[in-house]
Symmetry: C2
Subunit: 213 residues, 2 copies
Amino acid sequence: MTDSGTPESAPVATHGTRRPGGRTARTRVAVRDAVLTGLTEHGYPGLTVEYVAEHSGVHKTTLYRRWGGLEGMVADALDMACEDDWTPPDTGSLEGDLRALARQVVDSFADPARAAAPTAFVAAALQSPQAASALRDFYTVRFTRCEAVVARAVTRGEAAPDIDAGAVVRAVSAPLFLRLFVTREPVDEAAADRSAAAVLAAVRAGVYSLGAG
Amino acid sequence: MTDSGTPESAPVATHGTRRPGGRTARTRVAVRDAVLTGLTEHGYPGLTVEYVAEHSGVHKTTLYRRWGGLEGMVADALDMACEDDWTPPDTGSLEGDLRALARQVVDSFADPARAAAPTAFVAAALQSPQAASALRDFYTVRFTRCEAVVARAVTRGEAAPDIDAGAVVRAVSAPLFLRLFVTREPVDEAAADRSAAAVLAAVRAGVYSLGAG
């Protein structure tokens, strides 16, 4: 086992600089698509470099040279998922923003086709330390973007300045992700609204203050 | 694909009637142990009937006859996990009980060896509808037992009688399970205490009232 397949060493030349028209970018997208298809069809342990080569049209030697191996391909697919221009909702109130965030989670998973890739990544991360590291990085980026919601609430005086924004935005998704990924129970808009209301009540009670203990 | 491997049809003769000394019970434990070892070593897609036969010492034809197939074995292992005599903490207050529940989750996953089996089951459930069904049943039983904590709080006047006890006990675990199974971030006692405090604040604010909307 070498380090060549870890996310850190995966050569992500286009990271942060999207070049949708370039050959390198097209290759990267083709590999990402093949990884997603393979993960959703066969799961992480069933994913092979041969499968990715066949479904992306990219030669195996190129795959090994640019991504190091499967772990690097899975990590790069997660890196690409971070490169979108998504920003959290801005409704004008913390209550509205938290509710909109929670509803976005429910909407994302209402369509099984859209839910398949994130579900496959979570499963992969439970079986591969490299995929786990990449998924942790992915969620760090996502939740850090979400923290804008809390920063605006602090500016508006809806939350104390010493609030743990990371804990707040994780708490909004938590009951929904519990049902989607762990207990495998359905989620709906009522569950989203209740999660947002619970977090708001906890914020108002000062639970997420970094000074609380 | 037949129904013979689904949890519903798995012949779970000893369900709810523990017979630790019987030959059937010993066989069932041996198969369960082999399933756990196989899941943690190879993941769900790498688990085979051959592996279970070899590691349990139970003949393949017996495995197929009694469990129908791998899905039935995984489901039965989850059924057995429900058959312990665990009850939720009873500290005398809702605050204390919620905190004790959350800390139990953190303690359970502090030891990688104890964490391996639940993690493997969650991964299996993300890849097999049958495992998902069995895991959903497992968590339904677990969380239903936890609801005693809320019932006692209602009796003590700490919560309104129309509280959604199932949502409350899920909410306590949710931020911890999010970190353990989805974002793959560490958990600690402070995270447990904060989760309990957040749920308590939401209960006091009436968020979990079934009449709230």
